[in-house]
Amino acid sequence: SDICSLPFLAKICQKIKLSIKNSMPFKDVDSDKHSVFPTLRGYHWRGRDCNDSDKTAYPGRRPDNWDVHQDSNCNGIWGVDPKDGIPYEKKFCEGSQPRGIILLGDSAGAHFHIPPNWLTASQMSLHSFLNLPTALTDELDWPQFSGVTGFLDSTSGIEEKSIYLRLRKRNHCNHRDYQNISRNGASSQNLRKFIESLSRNQALDHPAIVIYAMIGNDVCNGKSDPVPQMTTPEQLYSRVMQTLHHLNSHLPNGSHVILYGLPDGTFLWDNLHNRYHPLGQLNKDVTYAQFFSFLSCLQVSPCHGWMSSNKTLRTLTSERAEQLSNTLKKIATSEKFTNFHLFYMDFAFQEIIDEWQKRGGQPWQLIEPVDGFHPNEVASLLLADRFWKKLQLQQPQVLGKENPFNPQIEKVFGDQGGH
């Protein structure tokens, strides 16, 4: 029954398991943590390698000798302008303060998504499962469409772009400098198991904007009594400080770290409980209340605390979430680090709901229909929009300046090699 027990598959299975366990690219010939392969933690998750046989060439590094001979930072800009002999990287990027975007997140940040047409018989066709192999080898996450590091066009038609695409638009020298270091089930506690997969060389690379967004699993679990396992403010303080010290020893000077607060998840029950789940839409026989109850009974609920008919439990979960958000706020206002500035930002889902309703939408349309828990693509991109606007208003230096050479970069290098 275990296909990996077949001798000729044992080696590849072992490699795949290691890749998933460490959140590192499965196919990475030069071991620089960047890949030319999409899934299995490849370029769907972090900037595509432009030379997978040279470990000194990878997205995010400062250019080697102004990239006269090769594109050492994979931003598609290299060579010398024949008109004046000046290297293009020097001409177009010097002084523009390029920077990368790195997300330390959970399934929401990785954009966990199960397409509803996988479960809806009336919509099912030969095309329904074409994306299943990609989804499975990306752990049912779709980071290439996520609100922080997404680089593919939105499937929901919403015009808002990811934070990465906005940084790229602001300064084309940021091309391909994104990393989605997220994992389903991630929390302040287990981040230490995969934070090593973050790729940044303090001496050689550009500064980065790091978003710490563990938005649920510190209060979410599937236990029949979820409270004992919830993270306490003291635990969170200690763990986040460990993470920040790790970042301070890895991030290039001039970086920025943003601690993202936790949401008030009572929104889920309030807006979904009496709506039909995709499995119940045909015969009108399964509501989200029943679905949540089934998940909790099996103890496989992603968040029993908020996905519960017990109002007291939902309220308690939100209270703990708020305490943890206040802890993050306290860290951001009282702790200082040499290599990065530290900020806090609320996960103000209500503002997203208000914006969506202004556009004629319904709150339930912001949640993944199959799991009834994760923010969907629309919500993620609206959150990215709000994040960007807040920073532009309050801390514009975090985003860097508009690069006046963007049009020339486009003229000379087109799409810079794409993604």
Partner: protein, 122 residues
Amino acid sequence: HPNGHSCLGCVAVVSVIEQLAQVHNTSIQGSMERLCGYLPEKLFLKTTCDLVVHMFGSDIIKLLGAHMNADVVCHVLDFCKQDPGQPQCHLYPLPKEAWKFTLEKGRQIVKKSSSLKYPRSS
């Protein structure tokens, strides 16, 4: 629940099989073939589907044919199990007749089955 995920998976798959038959007005056999036909060959997905149908298909046909829902089917096939002291987990409204009676009836139906004894967390 040690086999919570396999129970959830089983109920979802059997629900889809049942609803495909309903939507396309076909037999359960036809619905299972249709579902496997929708799956790509990559990652052995279609092969795995055919294998699962080969192993469990005939019992699923009998049980759904006896108007049992996905909850009952997956308990009879042992993907869902109610351990002593654990609550009875079900997605759909409970059947009108007593759960234990329905379960026992289902077990009788498959008792004569040629299928293997179901490994617990298969």
